[in-house]
């Protein structure tokens, strides 16, 4: 007999009955199988109406972040054998509006992303050659540029739950990534954009714990505070 794994999957269909509930699925298991593989097995063989987002299956697209068995994880990076009893409780990302089953509305998340000017802004007039970076200058950005926009951190942060005006951990990490970039010339403007959000962080570390890319988001926020403070102290440059 083949070995099995169990999935308890959150179901919600606003067009049908509209009451959220959990469905239990048993799927054949083999070593190395992820929660996402399990969901695909359900979709292909048991219930074609199951909705979830995924694309790359290898932790680079950021589509498949979910709340799985008590932690924010990427379904494609979570091995069933690492969950107790090979059982996975699969929830959509909490605190984001559920559209159907495991699919959430990412709009509140990307709205915050747009607010922080998520692109490099060179000095005026723009340089006519490309801007070179030394390995050392590039090193500063390491790991902070690894964000895959999965929204796990956004969903995990108690500040975003309560304060819709707070830009959230992802946007602050992104803001740091651009502000710390040697090719960027808009630090002053960036500090204005993240004020007062950058001061709202309570160093709960939920984002850092949740991030599937292990980005030290809280560190990025503290570094931004440092930059913002220096900016304010330079009164002659205001």
């Amino acid at each position: 007999m083949t070995e099995q794994a169990t999935l308890y999957v959150f179901r919600y269909d606003p067009d049908a009955d509209g009451t959220p509930h959990f469905d239990r699925f048993t799927v054949p298991w083999q070593k190395g199988m992820t929660v996402l593989d399990g969901l695909y097995h359900v979709l292909d063989h048991q219930d074609g109406s199951l909705s979830f987002r995924a694309s790359c299956r290898e932790g680079v697209c950021g589509s498949c972040a979910m709340y799985i068995s008590g932690a924010y994880r990427l379904a494609c990076q979570t091995l069933l054998e690492n969950l107790p009893g090979r059982e996975a409780t699969v929830n959509p990302l909490p605190h984001l509006p559920v559209l159907k089953d495991l699919v959430v509305d990412m709009e509140p998340f990307f709205r915050q992303y747009q607010r922080i000017m998520p692109y490099l802004k060179p000095s005026e007039p723009p340089p006519d050659k490309e801007l070179l970076q030394s390995p050392k200058q590039r090193h500063v950005l390491n790991i902070h540029i690894d964000c895959i926009l999965c929204a796990a951190c956004h969903s995990a942060c108690p500040l975003t739950w309560a304060d819709k005006d707070f830009v959230g951990p992802m946007a602050l990490n992104k803001a740091y990534r651009f502000a710390a970039d040697s090719r960027d010339a808009a630090r002053k403007e960036r500090m204005r954009l993240i004020d007062p959000s950058v001061w709202k962080c309570h160093t709960v570390f939920n984002c850092t714990e949740a991030c599937p890319k292990s980005i030290p988001i809280t560190t990025a926020i503290e570094s931004l505070r440092h930059m913002a403070l220096v900016q304010r102290l330079k009164f002659w440059q205001r």
């Binding site: 919600y12 709340y67 909490p94 605190h95 160093t203 570390f205 850092t208 714990e209 503290e222 505070r225």
Partner: protein, 132 residues
């Protein structure tokens, strides 16, 4: 019921930072309420007269209230050392790699001070009279 929107509200799944954040708020509220109570008790000598004041103080010196005092001490210690932890983090100390050791160190100091406190107070809680 396990609902998806708030699936992460279950306290069993909270990590250390989340507990610290939550307990910091709770201990803060406790301390504010204590401050108000303290003012009311101390001013009871004027508002309700010396007789009431004496009776209130006697009640507060009972083992039960002394035991509650230990909880109050814990609220102070927790709030203080978690506050120091937050300040250190804001200064960039321990935030990148050592936030867990920092958390344990701060809580260890707070617990050690609490133990000292309990040892000092234990005889009174167990019934030794406060004043000769």
């Amino acid at each position: 019921m396990r609902t998806a929107r708030y699936a992460d509200r279950w306290p069993g799944n909270y990590r250390a930072g989340m507990w610290m954040w939550l307990l910091h708020r709770i201990s803060g509220v406790v301390l504010v309420l204590y401050g108000i109570t303290h003012v009311i008790v101390i001013s009871s000598a004027r508002t309700w007269g010396p007789g009431t004041f004496d009776r209130v103080l006697e009640r507060l010196g009972s083992p039960l209230f002394l035991a509650l005092d230990v909880l109050l001490v814990w609220a102070v210690l927790f709030h203080a050392f978690n506050g120091i932890r937050c300040l250190l983090l804001d200064l960039g100390i321990g935030v990148r790699r050592h936030h867990k050791p920092l958390f344990w160190a701060m809580m260890a100091i707070a617990v050690a001070l609490l133990v000292v406190n309990v040892v000092v107070w234990a005889p009174y809680i167990l019934g030794k009279p406060l004043a000769e």
